[in-house]
């Protein structure tokens, strides 16, 4: 909402308040100011001058030399211009050097092709205006003034440019403040000064509206009030300068007197008005009804619409002439030839207007206001003001009588005034009569300990609302801060939240950077990581109104996002990268109306920072930190995202899968622009947390020495060392403490299909020093089991 200060001053005088102070105070009391503009503020030293003589320029065939008289007792001023439309005796705007024009232009005295020129004659565009502002002007010539002005007048006064526009950001609960009158009221209360709201006076010219029009409203809930007047003998013309200037200050383009009146009243009263051409009606009966399903309608911006029954229309006996509260129809638009006009000032249900406008994809100034819920009591004053302006502008004759179908009158809300409760709630100590005064000034009626809200304040419903009215005028910043007391609460983390933090500390300690990627992704991500057509990851939560395909489904796996991040860094030349993301995936249920599961997942990965065993070491660290032991790795050749020979699944508690890790399949890696190996591990956080255990119990340090024995075995190359280790552990008995693989050898000292694996076995007893015999016995058992179960023996 852009407010013209000149317009505001019609109702409340603010001439003594500095603009910045005005803006600050209005923001403090709840009408937020986004900024302000001093109109014409960038114009300096431009005055009205009379052209007394014109002679051709000696060295130019398109320039002329003008002598300008300012009737200031001085000699005429010489100015050279290239314009063709000047003539002797014309009054023109003259930028007298030195002068300033919009856009930071400065005019200095100088010579044009050798002839002295002491300024510039201005066109409308040089003054920052258009033909909408000055309808009689031409675009490509000097502005020949037709205003009521004298030589020497400041052009800002002549063209009503001496105004300021303050831009307010009005919240959706205060549609009453989307008007000059609403803001005048707020201004008066904010600055504690009086204001006046004149009652419009309509000059009726005879006739009877009953001979022109009758109105039926089908549903009083959807159209609470419909008021109308008829104006005859209309003369369409530009509206006067002052009206155009005020519209311009409010950011509205002047069109013609009738249309400008509807806009002027909307801005002044906050009531959207509609004017339509009476001659275009079929019959004299107006019906406010729901549209027929599939009804056709062409709006006055020449768009065709197909309506449905949820949309409210204004119709004559045969056709819709307006989308109620949204836009008029092309069929009844005001034209230069219009002679009889119907002014409509109605109140439509906000939700209905909103739905109708949304369905037709047309938000208008009018619909934006109606959908916030307007005051039906405002219809009549606005209509009267419009007709008052018709007479004032000489735009036509107002037919006697008016139509007012008011089916939706509602009793105003009444709220108890409880000053003690309000003070307690706010933490203030304000006098009850101070509260009363603020409320009364805002338009409330206070009587018998009750506040009756004015009709334009449908937002006032409860004690909290009353408290806000009081405190915003008193000043939020004057409330004294207090430390809040009450029961002591502990700001502790849940075990899950604590583990989340612990896990991340570990990841950071291992050198991984944390990434944060979008939750919504492209459905093609699943193809990109090589998953088949029937992969469960394709079953995702789908956004019905996405910004684009790339962000159209909620992620079901973090792997593509992680690969994107690694790929981005690789593409930008980062030598190596280690990244993790701990984030949610969204797993839908059968019905899309049911909320999906949102488990937390951990994905980590790297390139140029190690190999499979680096990754495995990280996973080991995570699982060990979570208090897990007996971790089993099994090779996995069937996960299409990973290299079939370099992928493992990790199991704990027997067969509970807790991680997948490996080198990304080269084909998948290539999809992300990698020709070097990329490694990724994927761990479901919820499962990990479920099995994690942080119970610690002290175990006495060993009192007796350990005994170690080293063995090298020869086996088939393909045999996994995990299998060997399992056999060793099972056969070793109680005394085994550690099984460490310290070397794997393949090479020319051994058969090509064989490898040698070397283990260091550590034995210890908690209650005595082991004898050589005991250890040998345990080793023999191990060797026998290896021979029997795997057919492998000690390397000779």
């Amino acid at each position: 909402m852009n407010l013209s200060i000149n317009w505001l001053n019609d109702f409340v005088s603010t001439k003594d308040i500095k603009l910045q102070d005005y803006c600050d105070r209005m923001t403090d009391t709840g009408s937020k100011v986004e900024g302000y503009e001093v109109l014409g503020g960038d114009i300096e030293n431009v005055v009205v001058g009379r052209i007394v003589s014109i002679v051709p320029h000696p060295d130019s065939d398109h320039m002329v030399i003008c002598q300008l008289d300012f009737e200031d007792g001085n000699e005429p001023t010489q100015i050279v211009t290239g314009a063709q439309n000047v003539f002797e005796g014309a009054l023109v705007p003259v930028a007298k050097a030195p002068a300033k024009l919009p856009g930071g232009v400065t005019i200095k005295a100088g010579k044009l092709r050798g002839v002295e020129s002491n300024g510039m004659l201005c066109s409308i565009s040089e003054l920052g205006l258009t033909t909408h502002d000055v309808p009689y002007a031409i675009e490509d010539g000097i502005l020949i003034l037709q205003e009521d002005c004298k030589v020497g007048d400041d052009i800002r006064d002549v063209l009503c440019l001496n105004d300021a526009a303050v831009e307010f950001e009005i919240t959706s609960n205060r549609p009453d403040c989307l008007s000059v009158i609403g803001l005048a009221r707020e201004t008066a209360v904010s600055f504690g000064r009086p204001w006046t709201l004149p009652t419009p006076v309509v000059t009726e010219a005879g006739g009877s509206i009953a001979d022109y029009l009758s109105v039926d409203v089908e549903d009083g809930n959807l159209c609470r009030r419909y008021a109308a007047r008829v104006v005859r003998n209309v003369k369409i013309a530009p509206s006067p300068k002052w009206m155009r200037a005020r519209l311009r200050a409010a950011g509205v383009r002047p069109i013609n007197n009738i249309v400008d009146i509807t806009n002027y009243v909307m801005l002044e009263y906050g009531q959207p008005m509609h004017a339509f051409d009476y001659a275009m009606l079929d019959g004299s009966h107006i019906i406010v009804r729901n549209a027929a399903e599939g009804e056709n309608f062409r709006s006055l911006d020449d768009q065709d619409h197909i309506l449905d029954a949820a949309t409210l229309v204004i119709a004559d006996e045969k056709k819709a002439v307006a989308l109620a509260g949204v836009m008029g129809g092309a069929n009844s638009e005001i034209k230069d030839s219009t002679v009889t006009v119907v002014f409509e000032s109605a109140n439509f249900d906000g939700a209905t207007v909103r739905i109708g406008a949304k369905k037709q994809g047309m938000r208008t100034e009018s619909s934006g206001r109606f959908e916030k819920g307007l005051d039906p009591e405002n219809c009549m004053p606005a209509l009267e003001r419009a007709c008052e302006l018709v007479t004032l502008l000489g735009a036509g004759e107002v037919v006697s009588g008016c139509i007012d179908v008011y089916k939706g009158k509602k009793a105003p809300a009444t709220i108890p005034l409880e000053p003690a409760k309000i003070n307690h709630f706010l933490g203030t100590d304000l006098a009850p009569d101070y509260m009363e005064r603020i409320l009364t000034d805002l338009g409330c009626t206070v009587a018998d300990g009750k506040v009756t809200a004015p009709s334009w304040r449908a937002d006032l419903e409860s004690m909290n609302d009353i408290a806000e009215e009081v405190i915003r005028i008193y000043g939020y910043n004057k409330i004294e801060s207090t430390p809040f007391s009450g029961a002591v609460t502990a700001g502790s983390l849940t075990p899950r939240q604590a583990y989340k933090e612990r896990l991340q500390s570990l990841l950071l300690g291992m050198g991984l950077y944390q990434a944060n990627t979008f939750s919504f992704v492209s459905p093609r991500n699943i193809d990109k990581i090589g998953l088949p057509a029937d992969a469960s990851e394709r079953n995702s939560v789908v956004i019905s109104n996405p910004l684009g395909e790339d962000t159209s489904v909620m992620r079901t796996t973090l792997i593509p996002g992680l690969l994107d991040v690694l790929s981005h860094n690789n593409a930008y030349g980062t030598q190596s990268a280690m990244i993790y993301e701990l984030g949610h995936v969204y797993l839908p249920h059968e019905s899309a109306d049911e909320l999906p599961d949102e488990p937390l997942m951990l994905a980590l990965g790297f390139y140029n920072a190690g190999d499979f065993y680096t990754l495995k070491g990280m996973v080991d660290a995570i699982l060990t930190d979570a208090g897990l032991s007996r971790i089993r790795y099994a090779s996995c050749k069937t996960n299409p995202t990973f290299h079939p020979g370099r992928c493992a699944e990790v199991f704990v508690r027997g067969n509970m899968k807790i991680a997948t890790l490996g080198q990304i399949h080269p084909t998948v890696a290539a999809n992300y622009g990698f020709n070097q190996p990329v490694y990724v591990a994927y761990i479901p956080f919820e499962e990990l947390f479920a099995v994690a255990s942080f119970k610690k119990q002290y175990k006495a340090l060993p009192k007796y020495p350990a005994v170690t024995r080293d063995f090298a075995f020869v086996c088939q190359r393909a045999l996994e060392v995990g299998t060997i280790e399992e056999v060793i552990r099972k056969a070793a008995g109680k005394l085994i403490e550690k099984v460490e693989l310290f070397d794997i050898y393949t090479g020319d000292k051994i058969d090509a299909d064989k490898k040698s694996v070397a283990y260091r076995l550590t034995f210890r007893s908690p209650d005595h020093t082991l004898t050589d015999e005991e250890v040998t016995k345990a080793c023999d058992k191990i060797l026998a089991a290896l021979q029997k179960q795997l057919g492998i023996g000690v390397r000779g």
Partner: protein, 339 residues
């Protein structure tokens, strides 16, 4: 003999002074103290002495032996020290040569700030509540006093899954979920991802992070809200931080306020960060609307409360002077390694 002994001592001392290694030292020991050494040779002549002389010379000889032995030991220690010093000098390295790189990961700046916020609020007794990001319309809007077709829905262009299910456009639905389950006193914060249908540019993102706070108890006042936010702001932005409250409208709080902090870059004098205003808008807050309390079966006559919310991206961007929001989601290590 006495002279002979004293001469031996003097000779030994002279020779020891010239010793420059373990071998030479051993040589000196043998020469003076060995079985065939000088001292032994003199002592062999003890028999010729008188009974009176014998103990005197014997004592002197023992003293001289002890003295030489001590000097040899000292010399040995000195040689050892010198040898060590020499070796250490040879082991000198170039300490200005680069160290072995040890990878240290970093937390994403959004998470760092979120964690700082959480720490501050936890120290004030707030616990962290979590709620779903794919949420019912009821929780995101209706139970927050934003009925269908309410114009406030326009300010939050929402991604929908179905008519009933959406991507939450604010963290506020967590308030409702907490109040439905928990009776006052309630003191929670809820950080998390939220979604709005804004195209990506330098200052907009369709996904961003908010932190929501809620306090409900008997006798909570608007003064309490101010006091709590001031404590928070001083911890977050520095001890001299001031707050400014401006009336605003949120459907789920009444009264509502937008809250500015004095610019922590210029201290309120005006600079580029605060656009010369001296203030930075940082959060929205207000007293919980009685309709919201009632909807969660909490009697507004008995209890009152306040709620507040802030955008984490905004704080991160101001704190680190980041001018393009897209940096926060690209996860470029050249960016992440700066924090």
């Amino acid at each position: 003999m006495k002279e002979q002994l004293l001469q031996i001592k003097a000779d030994a001392e002279a020779k020891l002074a010239a010793v420059d290694g373990d071998a030479a030292l051993e040589q000196v020991r043998i020469e003076f103290l060995g079985k065939k050494g000088a001292l032994t040779a003199v002592l062999r002549g003890m028999g010729k002495l008188t009974a009176e002389e014998r103990p005197v010379i014997g004592q002197l000889a023992n003293e001289i032996r002890a003295a030489i032995e001590e000097e040899i030991a000292e010399k040995k220690e000195a040689l050892k020290t010198a040898a060590l010093e020499k070796r250490l000098l040879e082991e000198t390295i170039d300490v200005t040569a680069p160290g072995t790189t040890f990878p240290v990961g970093r937390r994403h700046p959004l998470d760092q700030v979120e964690q700082t916020l959480c720490d501050i609020f936890r120290s004030m007794g707030f616990t962290i509540a979590e709620g779903p990001e794919v949420e019912y319309d009821t929780y995101n809007f209706q139970k927050l006093n934003i009925p269908e077709n309410h114009p406030a829905r326009d300010t939050q262009d929402t991604f929908y899954i179905t008519d009933k299910v959406l991507l939450r456009s604010q963290t506020s639905p967590v308030q409702v979920r907490v109040m439905e389950k928990q009776r006052p006193p309630i003191r929670i914060i809820s950080p998390g991802r939220v979604y709005r249908s804004d195209a990506v540019d330098a200052t907009h993102s369709p996904m961003f992070h908010q932190l929501e706070g809620l306090v409900v108890d008997k006798g909570i006042t608007m003064g309490d809200l101010k006091g709590m936010l001031e404590t928070f702001a001083r911890q977050m932005f520095g001890d001299s931080t001031k707050l400014r409250f401006r009336p605003h409208h949120f459907p789920f709080t009444e009264p509502s306020a937008e809250v500015d902090v004095s610019c922590f870059v210029c201290g309120g004098k005006g600079c580029r960060v605060c656009k010369n205003e001296g203030w930075i808008e940082i959060l929205g807050a207000g007293m919980v609307h009685p309709n919201v309390l009632r909807g969660c079966d909490i009697d507004p006559e008995e209890y009152s409360g306040f709620a507040f919310g802030m955008g984490i991206e905004r704080i991160v961007m101001i704190k680190y002077a980041i001018d393009d929001m897209r940096n926060l989601y690209e996860n470029d290590l050249r960016f992440l390694s700066q924090f």
